[in-house]
Subunit: 213 residues, 2 copies
Amino acid sequence: MNKIPFPVIHRLSYVFEILNKLEEQGIKKVSSAQLGKYLGQTAHTVRKDIHFIGIAGTAGTKYDIAGLKTLISRHLGFGIPKKSCIVGLGKLGSALLEYTLAIPQGAFRIVAGFDSNINRVETIHTPIELFPAYRIEETVKRLQIELALIVVPPQQAQEAADRCCDGGVTGLLNFTPTVIKPKRDGIFVRSIDISGELRILAALAYTTTIMNE
Amino acid sequence: MNKIPFPVIHRLSYVFEILNKLEEQGIKKVSSAQLGKYLGQTAHTVRKDIHFIGIAGTAGTKYDIAGLKTLISRHLGFGIPKKSCIVGLGKLGSALLEYTLAIPQGAFRIVAGFDSNINRVETIHTPIELFPAYRIEETVKRLQIELALIVVPPQQAQEAADRCCDGGVTGLLNFTPTVIKPKRDGIFVRSIDISGELRILAALAYTTTIMNE
DNA sequence: TATTAAATGTGAATAATGGAACAATTTATG
DNA sequence: CATAAATTGTTCCATTATTCACATTTAATA
Ligand SMILES: NC(=O)c1ccc[n+]([C@@H]2O[C@H](COP(=O)([O-])OP(=O)(O)OC[C@H]3O[C@@H](n4cnc5c(N)ncnc54)[C@H](O)[C@@H]3O)[C@@H](O)[C@H]2O)c1
Ligand SMILES: NC(=O)c1ccc[n+]([C@@H]2O[C@H](COP(=O)([O-])OP(=O)(O)OC[C@H]3O[C@@H](n4cnc5c(N)ncnc54)[C@H](O)[C@@H]3O)[C@@H](O)[C@H]2O)c1
């Protein structure tokens, strides 16, 4: 199997999301140009990305949505949803819990939540199981959880991530404004830094202001 | 002025954040190697990024934190905080409101919030002013707000963004899982798609599983 | 059926990015 | 004062990513 460049994985996973939505609307076919429009990319890019994972259509015809979904699923592993957990059930964590449970799709499924504050574990109402933080490693192992959302205070982020790594997760999604390091090779970390994004936006608006003069 | 590549702006804005934290701790000097460690980047990259915006230190000595902050501020526009607003004060929006207000730094400052539900506008307690959604355009104009966080349901996202554009914002930070288009040229959009990020993480973990065989 | 339009697959060209090397400079030290 | 160590500025090269061009194929239409 060929190595797929990261930007391609990134875009294809969004293509998958778009295909899901189109299919929900009863649409059966879609062109690279249409997909490009949804993604904010050119049709060229879309075709080339798809080309990385094989042949998805036939020249002259649009892509068959069901077929393309299958192809992407097979290459990106969206067939069996990855079991996931949320660590830290504060203001953001509990919002995320509710939000992610409401998203129906094939890539991931939240199956557990953790908080060091036993009070939160006992008072939050949700269909999934919640545990105190000292049980992270044990539970991640037992349920074979693969992904973890880290939503604890920044000072606790690395420690919480470490426990998840010890339990055997393969991916961490970090919501704290700190850099967290995976404990072993083969564990991926992605970070969502909201204040960082705002800072970037502020910078972008400014640099073009200059450039336009 | 030279055009600064986007990845450089991205990283430099994080450097700025790190410098703030170090300065808070009373630290006065920092090397490219140290900054690289905080960023998860090499010292080479850090030096090269800084090189894009000018000369920040002298060979043989570490960077002076105050001086480097000034240089980045000048080029990325972090001197005067950009006035910002939050549109949509639901579960996520109100968490973001509280969170962003607690971050002290120079790039942005939240000054207003909007919601179409008058009840939310009246019941949320916060030091900043809240307005009903029909007053977005007027208020953004009056207060000269430059950035907007879009935190409304996906179906309302484009419309909410349009109102902000009409008011004159220069940047949109989109939290909804949809693509929103700026109404005019010169308005930047960045999106934070949480379920998208989870999907990417799921895909990453999977592709390496394959690659390792 | 012939022709036109629309669509994909694919290789090549171009552009952007990242990484590495090294000269130049300062500080520390004996 | 001389030397060694540490550190930045800057150029060059390799790699990666994007854009483009076009051959090929299908569907629609007159
Ligand atoms: N609230 C936001 O809108 C927002 C936005 C962006 C980023 N963040 C980041 O997300 C993180 C959480 O923010 P929040 O506003 O939800 O904070 P919060 O204080 O409301 O929640 C944090 C939760 O983590 C729990 N916790 C603490 N240590 C823990 C541990 N070791 N293991 C498990 N749980 C632990 C706490 O009991 C608490 O319930 C912070 O790092 C914050 O910087 C928050
Ligand atoms: N909750 C989460 O953890 C989470 C995570 C990721 C993304 N999101 C996205 O963020 C958005 C908001 O999510 P939420 O959970 O806070 O939803 P929510 O329903 O709790 O809040 C939405 C708020 O927007 C207001 N609103 C609706 N139309 C509006 C308009 N035209 N102008 C101004 N305000 C308007 C509503 O009155 C409500 O208060 C959604 O698009 C959701 O997909 C949410």
